[in-house]
Symmetry: C2
Subunit: 214 residues, 2 copies
């Protein structure tokens, strides 16, 4: 990856670190090479069925070099999770437009979530695998709550303003997240045009809104 186009540049720089944009035109950091390769292999074969030796090899470096950047395999797996989770959250925060209408804000929150997931399918699948794995217990409650803080804020406002049904915050939060996962699962298995896909996303938001709004 020596040269990349503008559109790819935006996506990739989004996944990784904005401060390292300039390096992208020449070479990614070794650390990022590892993370990128590990993601592909983990999604293809699972954490434990993917040896560190294979990651290093496919990332074009020696076995020992990988352990220079990550002390253990576990550290690598957890770093990979937080890397993408942070990216996901950052994307949603910058793409959820502020608006007088709460419904519009929910809509843009919803669309940006779906869009990120769609542009980062592997990352999202890995994050789901991770969430169900024993590694997840090493992620603090505080971190998890922080990631969902924007959604919780919106929900709180919605309930206060009597736009949303008066239900436990946690329940609403969980149902919305499940809904988003479901839409993603549908969009991934069906083979459709971008246009049709957008229509489904729009429809799905209406469904979600019918469910949670008064």
């Amino acid at each position: 990856m020596i040269k990349i186009f503008h559109s790819e540049f935006l996506i990739i720089s989004n996944i990784f670190n904005y401060s390292k944009i300039t390096k992208l035109f020449f070479d990614l950091d070794k650390k990022e090479d590892i993370l990128k390769t590990a993601l592909d292999l983990f999604v293809k074969s699972g954490f434990h069925a993917t040896p560190t030796s294979k990651i290093a090899k496919e990332a074009g470096m020696a076995n020992g070099t990988l352990f220079h950047y990550f002390k253990t395999k576990e550290e690598l797996i957890i770093a990979l999770y937080t890397e993408h989770q942070n990216c996901f959250t950052a994307f949603i925060h910058t793409n959820t437009i502020s608006d007088e209408s709460l419904k519009h804000m929910f809509h843009s929150f919803f669309s940006s979530s779906i869009n990120w997931i769609n542009d980062n399918k592997s990352a999202f699948q890995f994050m789901q695998q991770f969430t169900l794995s024993p590694f997840y217990q090493f992620i603090s409650k505080e971190y998890i709550n922080k990631q969902d803080s924007l959604l919780v804020e919106l929900l709180q406002k919605g309930i206060e303003e009597e736009i949303l049904k008066k239900l436990p915050l946690e329940l609403l939060r969980t149902l919305i997240n499940s809904h988003i996962i479901g839409i993603n699962s549908y969009l991934s298995t069906q083979d459709m045009s971008a246009e049709h896909s957008n229509m489904i996303i729009h429809q799905s938001f209406s469904l979600l809104w019918d469910m949670i709004s008064l």
Copy 2:
């Protein structure tokens, strides 16, 4: 496990094979010992982080004995998945009551799903892990569709009778399944009385119905 109580008996006989009920009062089949132990360990540590030697040991048998019942570890994992998936489907089929009202049928379908999942938390978590893993590709499309046939039938009827919104069947199916997973996730993380839990299940069905019905 020499003697078990009636309630446990019902749950366990439900998980495994009805034709082997009589054996339960003395000893489970070795094969079922393996499956039961493997489930616990897989949920605790994941497929690959759980060695077959540990499964055999905890199931109270020699390493070689395990391989007498399952030729490979992969075969064991896949058998474990279908075992529980079959049980889940069977439970829903017998517990979804026939009724003139489609809404009532949906409600009982929904409740039985939630109830089974709640009584078989480990099994369900394993099934989700499995679904996201590379092993899932070994499960045929036909098998998957067959498992969801009751829901699809209900949905078809609902759309024909203009009770449900006219949306792609697959989309509805996926959204309902995600909703159920979400409710389960909420019920699992919160600590509540059976009474309160039932109330949430009831409310959640209303939400689902608001979403999919006209």
